[in-house]
Symmetry: C2
Subunit: 346 residues, 2 copies
Amino acid sequence: MISLKEIAKQCGVSVATVSNIINGKTNVGEETRARILKVIEETGYAPNYMARGLRATKTQTIGLIIDDITSFGTPDLIEGIMGYFEKTGNKVVFENLRVYSKWPADYQNGTEAFVKAVNAAISQLLAIKVDGIIYISAHGRVINYVSNFTSVPFVICYGSSDVPDVPYVCIDDVKSSYDLVEYLISEGMTKFGVIASSKANIHGKERLDGYKMAMEKNNIAIDEKYIVIGKWDRKTGYECCAELFEKGFHNESGKKVIFCFNDLMAAGVYDYLNEKNIKIGEEISVVGFDDREIAAFVNPPLTTMAIPLHEIGTKSAEMLVNKINGTELEKNNFSIPCRLIKRKSV
Amino acid sequence: MISLKEIAKQCGVSVATVSNIINGKTNVGEETRARILKVIEETGYAPNYMARGLRATKTQTIGLIIDDITSFGTPDLIEGIMGYFEKTGNKVVFENLRVYSKWPADYQNGTEAFVKAVNAAISQLLAIKVDGIIYISAHGRVINYVSNFTSVPFVICYGSSDVPDVPYVCIDDVKSSYDLVEYLISEGMTKFGVIASSKANIHGKERLDGYKMAMEKNNIAIDEKYIVIGKWDRKTGYECCAELFEKGFHNESGKKVIFCFNDLMAAGVYDYLNEKNIKIGEEISVVGFDDREIAAFVNPPLTTMAIPLHEIGTKSAEMLVNKINGTELEKNNFSIPCRLIKRKSV
DNA sequence: TTGAAAGCGATACCAC
DNA sequence: GTGGTATCGCTTTCAA
């Protein structure tokens, strides 16, 4: 590969001059600049990234830590982030924690092994001198345990943190859930079954809050026994629906709806309802959350809340760039509301 | 950040000795090694990646070019690749071509703008001195247009190439399609409708070949009028099914099956059949290809062929590492067969 | 406006 | 076994 030195020799100038031209310095003669630029063009010279990174403080590289690339939403988040960095001319390096393959079933948030893995990833990234780090979390994790936040700008994407001053952008679960329930009420629903999740999960906790707020606002009684706890998958969706039925939910009078905290559990509810030959969207309505691909393919198509993944990604990237440039941020964290997708299940 | 020099000074030895220890050279005294290792441990010293990359020929970094991260299969391919590189201790840098957002609808394979984007990505990667490159292609592209194949080891993942000696690993579409049709025949199917694709797409072409081979092998007549061309999406799946019906497919005698070249088109067929109140899997069977998430969620669940994405990824990574190490490869390309997933649609 | 030279942090060759 | 030092390709004073 051709080096700075060689093109300097070819042009009969010093390396310093060539370097100045490449870096857009103004202290170079008009004629010299043009002449050298031409040679650079012709030779297809590209600066050596390593050499540059060694000397300069900024590497134009940002590090992306992802919990698991096969996790729902992650690809679209990445797409948003990389779209932004393409414009700013940053390179992106990945650290893939691969939590699904490493800690199958249910690993614990904040677990020692996990924290260690995260910090190892951060060290790696720091070793290659990234200008900043974005952490894409799955599972609505609350990230409170990262040790070296401060050494380089850091933003959490699709997750949150209780540590003060750690920037993050996540979805507004409370408002989204509230909006969905308001819509359901406007459609005349009066009896709600909800398939929630453990409150340890921030999404679960906040969606429940939103639900309760909307119910109270509209003076509809909340029946605690019809709030059951699932584990975000199809199987527990099915089981929770069965539990609702055991408790007599289907015998309630009034328009009934089952609000599932994600689409997968809603699919489990479909399974149960189909088994019992209950017409979904007619006898009982069902709504989900996430707007996964499957939501449009189940029968009937599922009404759900679409997560603005692309926007979340873009926003995170924007925040990081601002942090790196030292631009003061208006806010340190953002919550973006989801979009209601009306389909046939209501 | 602490440097080699500093730890050398701290230990009262030369940088050369420390460097030798770090790089596992054997020409170092037992006692010295232990003493220095201890200091390295205590100080948390990590070698500067840039400096090392500048001097050494290998950077332990591999470049990953991806057509589009939101494309079906890409995340799992990446998961397989990164799992392998985690073991070998390689870092991974991404270049995301983002073809879906940049060339919406249908961009052309081999198009000038596209080729330019690919070569730009390669140059980027070369500038940061990657040891090798993996290209994850979407759309079963045949990659014949990359200019600087040779400067660094290069392998195509989930695609192929007609350029001699370019290593690739893809799926064995012919065999997979053949296997699927054989299974269908073993289930007593005699009338086949097929929703294929343009033959410009290598997957489409080969799946058709496999279909024909299986039919001929079993002496079942191929009815060309029942081979219709879709565009891999739900909508054209629906339209193609309608076309089949216009041609009288549903009035044929014998056990009928519609073989769709992917799951999305199969879902379109479901739409049409549901509309006509035809019992899927009873009156007419349907099979897809890909085993996307939706396949398990449509009603009835779809019989389809699962693509061994993880394995393809792992194999590509393995090939690349071998190439980098100069290990002779037994073969320059691999075709991995898909796995039949039996569900209720047959 | 241009250039000489120091140095970034490591590796590797060659003396001792 | 250990140490001195040239070198990788670039950026960045400081002089000229």
